[in-house]
Symmetry: C2
Subunit: 290 residues, 2 copies
């Protein structure tokens, strides 16, 4: 695929968790420009219906399309599971989600074929990961035995910064114990917040390969765009434009935890912008660089 | 205040937690009709900004005004704390929130004046309860020593139905321990979900008066409307019209837990309705009785 270096890459997430995905995109493609939209006024998507998630996703995609992006990453696992298809049909440019890349890496990584998936209730209920893993396993004639578990308390635990609290360990034990008896050797972290729980998860499930969806998606995106970069990512923060639909308490603390460096505060747009003419925002806004 | 028995009372909440408030309203006013709107597509409000909460609240108030309601209860503590004033200015009919009634009852109930408040981050950060309690205490020349604690994990714990899980006890201990040393004798449950945690809270803080905002608001509303009722509430479910902005997983399980009886499934409206002409929905919809 031929790409224009002046066109940014769009990243959409329901909140700020997608910054863990942005981190990997930056590491893989340090020369690129990024426009990130976090729909923080309507976060979380994880317990909402397919219809509502599709409705919100299309609005966010339209917002990013207004920036003349060359490709979009849906960093939110819930939106990837429930709205990728409609987003891809709607968009003239390539969109990748979290599911397919992680599913491929999970199958490639697993020796036993015993694979676990953890995610929000909506992601797990959609069975998107199970279907993607099974389809790929069938294609390459491998066996796959999949166990999926919804972990709705993991996101609030991360957001409360209680990752090291004894309650977090109890909660993780309750959710993850069934995976021990299933003898999984690979676990898909099916939510952008979960990479921040790696240590906690490894406590309960040692010697397991953890699949970080941000990492796998960034590998696929880099390949798809044919991008080869030798630069380091030290000056990248200048080329990231951030938008959120609501102000975020301690945004820079979260950004630093996810990215390893701070960013300028995001520009706030309202949900009214998204409900009305999202694709026209970029043209009309004087504060936008692209 | 003169009221028309044919006009319903509006109840607005960010989600389904407000059903705990509706329960008390029904108990106090079993002859009345109710229209309940839960903004489940944008729930929770608890970590969102004042600006966004005001924006959403006005839309929800407009939606209820379309039903010719005679009064509105804002059952969401966060919206009460951050958007009651703007809602009252905006509305031609009386609106009561959760804060004032609970603040009065807390002062009346407390012997020592040592009062605790628990709520979402936005509610606690707003200091709305502290100000209301202090103002009322000053008015009646009582002393008040207030301790406020944000408990963001309590709502997810209730929604996961883990109220009796050992992790819930650890979380509650962490949040509530500071209240033990403050020797509070009264605790305001500043979130609609918290009455479902009464037993857990009493474990850590025995012999404390718990102020249930739904109860105190329903007492004030009944007085304000001058309603005297001798009927029981056995046939009330026929006179409750429910709306949500998103479908709700296990709605009837939650309704039964909050109300003690099941209801017909709510009618789903979209957030587009709220962002555009919310007050016209009732007129245009054939499915609406009022």
């Amino acid at each position: 695929m031929k790409t224009d270096a002046n066109q940014p890459i769009g990243v959409f997430d329901s909140g700020v968790g997608g910054l863990t995905v942005l981190k990997h995109l930056i590491q893989e493609m340090p020369d690129e420009q990024f426009v990130y939209l976090g729909d923080t006024a309507r976060v979380p998507y994880g317990n909402k219906s397919k219809q509502t998630i599709e409705h919100y996703t299309i609005q966010c995609i339209d917002f990013l399309l207004g920036f003349n992006v060359k490709a979009i990453v849906i960093a939110c696992n819930t939106a990837s599971a429930l709205a990728l298809e409609i987003a891809q049909k709607h968009s003239p440019i390539p969109i990748i989600g979290m599911i397919e890349p992680a599913a491929h890496y999970a199958i490639e990584s697993s020796l036993s074929g015993n694979i676990g998936i953890i995610g929000t209730r909506a992601t797990i209920h959609s069975q998107a990961y199970e279907k993607a893993i099974q389809t790929y396993a069938d294609t390459i004639h491998k066996e796959a035995h999949i166990t999926s578990i919804a972990c709705p308390l993991f996101v609030p635990i991360v957001e409360e910064d209680w990752v090291n609290h004894p309650a977090a360990l109890l909660i993780a034990k309750e959710y993850l114990s069934p995976l021990i008896s299933k003898k999984i050797d690979t676990l898909v972290l099916g939510c952008t917040h979960y990479p921040l729980l790696k240590e906690l998860i490894t406590n309960i499930l040692p010697d397991i390969t953890l699949i970080d969806c941000g990492y796998t998606a960034s590998k696929i995106m880099t390949k798809m765009l044919g991008i080869h970069s030798n630069q380091d990512s030290s000056s990248i923060s200048k080329r990231i434009q951030l938008f959120t639909t609501d102000t975020v308490h301690s945004f820079n603390v979260i950004a630093e935890r996810c990215l390893g460096f701070t960013l300028q505060d995001p520009i706030n747009i309202t949900t009214e912008v998204l409900e009305h003419h999202p694709s026209e925002y970029a043209k009309q806004s004087a504060s936008v660089k692209y």
